[in-house]
Amino acid sequence: MPIGYFSLILHAHLPFVRHPEYPEFLEEDWLYEAITEVYLPLIFIFQHLHEVGASPRIAMNVSPPLCEMLADPLLQERYTKHLENLLELAQKEQLRTRKEAKQFTEAAKMYVENLSMSLHLWNDRYGRNLVNAFRELQDEGVLEIITCCATHGFLPLISTEESRRAQVQVAVTNYKKHFGRQPRGIWLPECAYEPGVEHLLKAAGIEYFIVDTHAILYGDPRPRFGVHAPVSCDNGVAVFARDVETSRQVWSDVVGYPGHPLYREFYRDIGWDAPIEFVGPHLHADGTRRHLGLKYHRITGKGVPLHAKLPYRPKLARAKAAENAGHFIQERIAQAHKLRKTFEGRPPLVVAPYDAELYGHWWFEGPQFLDFFFRQLHFDQDEIAPATPGDFLDSGLPIQVQQPAGSSWGENGYYMVWLNDKNAWMYPYQHDAERKMTEIANRFADQNSRFKAQGPGSTSNLEAGTLDFELQVRITNQLARELLLAQSSDWAFQIHKGTTVEYAARRFRSHIHRFDLLHEMLNKSYAFKLSESGTTEAVTLTPEELTLLKEIESRDTIFPEIDQRVYGS
């Protein structure tokens, strides 16, 4: 009988970045880097753990935009080229380092091996679609995949109930499309919660969600077991909160494992270090330097300047990852003993959520750490057992009813990162679009019911099935996509953080602009219908408008299954 339970929760999300209008696009690299450094290594490790019988139990959010990108043929094709290009560079590097820089040979060899395996997994094992891999891991009982809001919309800053509901309902529908079942849990974007959200979740069939620590600690009434047991909202939706200690040990830049001198240095990259004539063929056509993912240095020490970093030694780093994993387990055992004492014998549940991108992208050895951790957890001890939130709910243990407090897991614990002097300008535009979207959905529903009332044989140009009706459906569904994309919390985050501000602001402007263009298009056709009421003349778009509609549809392809009726009130 374990003395405590450990629930690792990984949050894998990227904003929907897909630019078919360009042959190459820098920000698409976010996805490609994450596939190479995070998703493929994690999938490989989880699958292998399963095969050796050390099956971990992990909850993982694969967000709807990420699922949509992973399943997108254009991005799959582009990633294949990206990976082949990287492998080609790594192979050249292996030859070069043998002759010119033997201190880097071990790392160069590692990259060739890793990338070769990645290409095999990508092409042969998973058919270039990693949704298949995640689904398989869930079906094998390794992962409990949870959903997220449709485009990672920050719920407390969305102005209408209908728009909040759409973020949840669209996500659930998309999850069913990709994973063939109903999701049990949801990762609230940025763990942002405000009282009342649980009703939207309950209506969507969600059993639990994840919040930050103080959501439960500051909840009412006081939680008997702190964050080391879930609570339940009064409508029965369960709430699991982040354990601070495990966050600090892995994630803190000051005391966390990833800062060890033996681990790989993130900011030294061949894309910047190598002569341009050498890496040039592997950059985009414009020749601009960028991170390529081959890095040859280790952190070396706090404050060591980049030029003074020492060569990366994969074997030493791997040994350190094993050591850290062992330490992490010992810390969990000690924590469980301490908590059991506090809780008078009740086994605690430690919930440890992290951005998935920490494991492999920011902390290169992170996947190895997880590999060692779950092996040692399974083979070397029996005091701590892995469990997902769903496992806990299935245990049937009683859960305290509580009203959690409004909170997020962002800086200072509330909504400051997503609403501040730098990004507050976005919200009036977003909120206008939210209001309009529901107006349109309601108008559409009303119109539709009137057509149905007319019965078969009606000659109205608004009858379902006519070109006119199909166009309206297309425009209205695309409006919903544009609104959802504008609501991505990623844009406000990046603007606040000061990273890729221009791209984030442009993306927000683009989706609001496209929403506005489509809205005008729709209103124009409505105006025409009203003036020509009773005629059978078809209302359609001008060729120019039709071209524009097609172009917008071809760019923002997310959620082809979307149904604008989700916005109706």
Binding site: R222, G259, W425, Y429, R506
Partner: protein, 348 residues
């Protein structure tokens, strides 16, 4: 900005016009206008401007990304532009944190025209104003504004607020034109209420232990300090603040004792008064600011030590820095590195 002093609701009565033009509406209910207009100058030129809604919007990129488009329609996509605001009633209040909310608004019509039609000569002397109302205490904050703008308010945790745009004149009723959604600011400290069912009930001391093992030492401190005799501890807290202010009088109304303790511990740990802006309630911040010359780390520590018997060595701030990577995940600060609810001076 011309900021008016706070007033009790008893001092200002509210009237609401029922004319079409001045019918008070919530932003959630507005959907009446479709006309797109370039935003013009304010209705009253002599009002000091509040920042316009999109004043902070970044400029269009200097270098446009793009390739050849097949038509004028497609070229629109190369230059994404935010739409001009429709002339419309908007009033949206948003929570940023327990101590800060953001409000933006716009008016569809000129309220002074309707006012002058209704009150004729009596309309003189009214100013377009923004009022933030604490719906529980009826406390309000009023300031002069333009017909469109945005504003950040300092608030208290766990309170419910609504913002209103209307016409203000001293000693006359506030004419409400538009009101916002209602928001409740989040708690920033543990609840004082234990569960009623015995299975989940927990004593204050035990709950402090739970908070402590969870890494929330600051809240553990506060909970164990307050114990189950909150009245006594609240008195001690006010006494500590009085001592910090060199025995100067201050109005206790609207100052939560836990806010005082949070502020004093933060000050004693080396935080500046400015760092507490937006982190404590407006009434307390105003008092501390008014006595800024008397407020410093040493005096805060001395007051806490004398009143609560907290050892200076317990008041060291510990910072875990940012998260690895670009995440801004929250690590709660530990102001009490040496503090333990079970061994602290305050529990002996």
């Amino acid at each position: 900005m011309a900021k008016k002093p706070r007033k009790d609701s008893s001092e200002i009565r509210v009237i609401e016009f029922v004319l079409d033009e001045l019918e008070p509406v919530s932003s959630a209910e507005t959907s009446r206008s479709r006309k797109v207009e370039q935003r013009g100058p304010g209705f009253q030129d002599d009002l000091e401007s509040v920042s316009s809604i999109d004043a902070a919007a970044p400029p269009e990129p200097a270098v446009q990304i793009g390739n050849e488009m097949g038509s004028a329609a497609l070229r629109q996509l190369e230059l994404p532009k935010l739409p001009l605001f429709e002339k419309q009633d908007r009033a949206r209040l948003q929570v940023q944190s327990p101590n800060r909310v953001y409000f933006y608004w716009s008016l569809k019509t000129n309220p002074f025209q309707a006012l002058s039609r209704t009150l004729s000569a009596g309309s003189a002397g009214y100013t377009l104003a923004l009022r933030l109302l604490d719906t529980q205490t009826e406390r309000e904050e009023i300031l002069a504004v333009e017909p469109e703008g945005s504003y950040w308010f300092n608030t208290d945790a766990g309170r419910t607020y609504r913002a209103e745009i209307g016409l203000y004149s001293p000693s006359r009723p506030f004419v409400r034109i538009l009101f916002s959604n209602t928001v409740t600011t989040p708690r920033k400290s543990p609840s004082s209420r234990a569960a009623s069912q015995s299975e989940w009930r927990i004593t204050s001391h035990k709950f402090a232990e739970v908070l402590d093992v969870t890494g929330f030492e600051q809240d553990a401190f506060d909970v164990v300090l307050a114990g189950d005799d909150t009245e006594r501890v609240d008195e001690l807290t006010y006494a500590a603040l009085t001592q910090l202010l060199d025995e100067r009088e201050y109005a206790r109304a609207n100052i939560a004792p836990e806010d005082i303790r949070l502020a004093m511990v933060a000050l004693a740990s080396g935080r500046t008064l400015e760092e507490l802006r937006w982190k404590i309630g407006p009434a307390l911040f105003t008092i501390l600011q008014a006595h800024a010359e008397h407020v410093d780390s040493e005096k805060a520590a001395a007051a806490l030590s004398e009143v609560f018997d907290i050892d200076q060595s317990e008041l060291e701030e510990e910072d875990y820095g940012p998260a690895v990577g670009t995440s801004l995940v929250n690590f709660p600060r530990k102001y009490y590195r040496g503090y333990s609810p079970l061994s602290s001076h305050i529990t002996r």
